[in-house]
Symmetry: C2
């Protein structure tokens, strides 16, 4: 198994946000800068845009001079299409030899001027929402190296953040670790990965196997999860990722202020314990030694005074490290991984 059919981005990056003034819509760009500041040379924003992501403003020419290899559209997909003023900047970048990277619904090659520019300059148009071809069928065959998968009580409860924080924590402690991205924003941050939610259902477990290949015995792949076994819209995706990842360890990610499942009217968010139990039961199919090493809680919506008491109570109930990565860091979970 190889990573040959993963998406791969070339650094350093120029982050393009155009006239996007909302930090929420610019979360991809902000995420890349937060987690991969060293790979970002600068930003491109239109005149009068006050949203400053804290990196130098560069023209395309300045970016080229600074050695930039890719321009990344740092805006989360909303409408899916982009305006002419955006396209003209991307065309200029392609003409100047930069790869263009997008997470938008509409493919970059569907903009004829952009396609022509990229063809002429020999640069790549990379749509991170498009799955690679020739993905294999999953086999369940055991791989070398170790894997920890983020699982969630619902979608969007902090799996990506937890995985990034845990991977950084392991590396800071001197361990070998790689963040493995499974969603668009994660791929932009990691510079590689597989957009699991764009893959034909039959190939998801095989894709998950391919993108965390054989590795050193003491290396951890820290895998961003997707969906939740308790979210009826996406649980099949979560299960395929669980089986294909063959995790030695899971971290349950949870938002205590979420009451109902995001995409399923009337469906309740499960308890952390139920979520853990079902993931361990299902995950044992491809890794009988699977274990839960901790709970990562997004407490940002709780009153400040209630955050640590909540985590302490959950730790007492489950007997597991319960952290908010922003409040506590991930050392308590990393300690558990060290002894696997």
């Amino acid at each position: 198994m190889t990573l040959s059919n993963c998406i791969e981005l070339k650094a350093p990056y120029l982050i393009f946000i155009g006239d996007t003034t909302s930090p929420l819509y610019a979360k991809t760009g902000l995420g890349i800068i937060q987690w991969r500041r060293g790979l970002v040379a600068g930003q491109v924003r239109f005149e009068g845009n006050d949203l400053d992501m804290g990196v130098p403003d560069l023209t395309i020419a300045e970016a080229v001079a600074a050695g930039v290899k890719s321009i990344i559209i740092g805006v989360a997909p909303v409408g899916g299409c982009i305006g002419d003023d955006w396209v003209s900047v991307l065309v200029e970048a392609a003409n100047a030899g930069l790869d263009v990277v997008s997470g938008l619904h509409r493919r970059l090659a569907e903009y004829p001027e952009l396609k022509a520019a990229a063809d002429k300059a020999g640069t790549s148009l990379i749509d991170v929402r498009v799955a690679p071809e020739n993905l294999p069928i999953g086999t369940g065959v055991k791989r070398t190296g170790k894997r920890v998968l983020m699982v969630g009580t619902d979608c969007a409860v902090g799996k990506k953040y937890s995985a990034l924080a845990l991977a950084d924590c392991l590396k800071t402690r001197g361990g070998k670790a790689t963040f493995r991205a499974t969603g668009q924003t994660g791929i932009m941050i990691a510079g590689q990965g597989l957009p699991i939610d764009c893959i034909i259902a039959d190939f998801v477990s095989g894709a998950a196997e391919a993108f965390s290949p054989d590795n050193d015995p003491d290396h951890w792949d820290v895998i961003e999860g997707q969906g939740s076994l308790y979210n009826a819209s996406y649980a099949g995706v979560s299960l395929s990722l669980l089986h294909g990842s063959q995790p030695d360890a899971i971290v349950v990610c949870h938002d205590p202020c979420r009451e109902s499942i995001s995409s399923c009217p009337g469906a309740k968010v499960p308890s952390v314990e139920d979520c853990m139990d079902l993931n361990l039961k299902c995950g044992s199919l491809t890794n009988p030694n699977i274990t839960c090493v901790g709970i990562s809680v997004n407490t940002s919506q709780m009153e400040e005074s209630k955050r640590q008491p909540y985590l302490d109570a959950l730790a007492a109930k489950t007997g597991l490290p319960c952290i908010d990565p922003i409040l506590n860091g991930c050392d308590a979970i990393a300690d558990r991984l060290d002894i696997i």
Copy 2:
């Protein structure tokens, strides 16, 4: 929810097998004739082909005169491509106003002569391996009518056969029932359905919701399953189908002579009880009243004298009707459905 974006085939059919002489490769055609004899006007096979499916040999002209609406390639996908001699028959059929239906990997429209003929005659080229567009995301919202889903201890253990036999049994007893196809051969037999295994992972549960829509309170959708929660290659597909189907009842399908999971080297086939328990546990997410109404066993590979004793022992152990639909029919399972 509507069935508007399902595949739909127009009867009567002409089944085309060309020079295919193996009943195994012609299983699609044979299946259509076995289960939908009334919809089949005839067969087209090349001169010298001794494989007779038991329906009249017709030329395209004779088929048109007999009112045939579709020519179906009755051969299971093997290489994926077809030869010039096959294409010329299909072109003749399209020219004569027939829809052309295929389960092959390569799309019919990729054969230029065939596409031109269909465009000119205004007929359809229907690839049953191609998923419809604009599928919804699953919501878990409850639908009216009742549903029974075939689940399996592995792939290819008799789910399609069991669903077809059970739907026929319910109708013979005067009930309202519809076989819902989820795979290519099933779609060919049913004349409609969704090729679940060709759908982007995020949309599988939504597709399953869409293709068994609201119905009369006493109507049963009898849903062909896919894969197995215990097959690490395809379990995510099975889970999406389970959640989207919201089954009131499941039937566990099993092949007692299968020792290891088909696509996963070294993985053991689970017990019928474990398979039932996990499906009931996961299925309760979208239907808390889910129950198991029986076990359908493919005993064809067992010694004849051991078949009924095996079924009796399994019934004693599980307390459920255990049948081989070929040996026993499906009445014992239908009896259970009648009281739900």
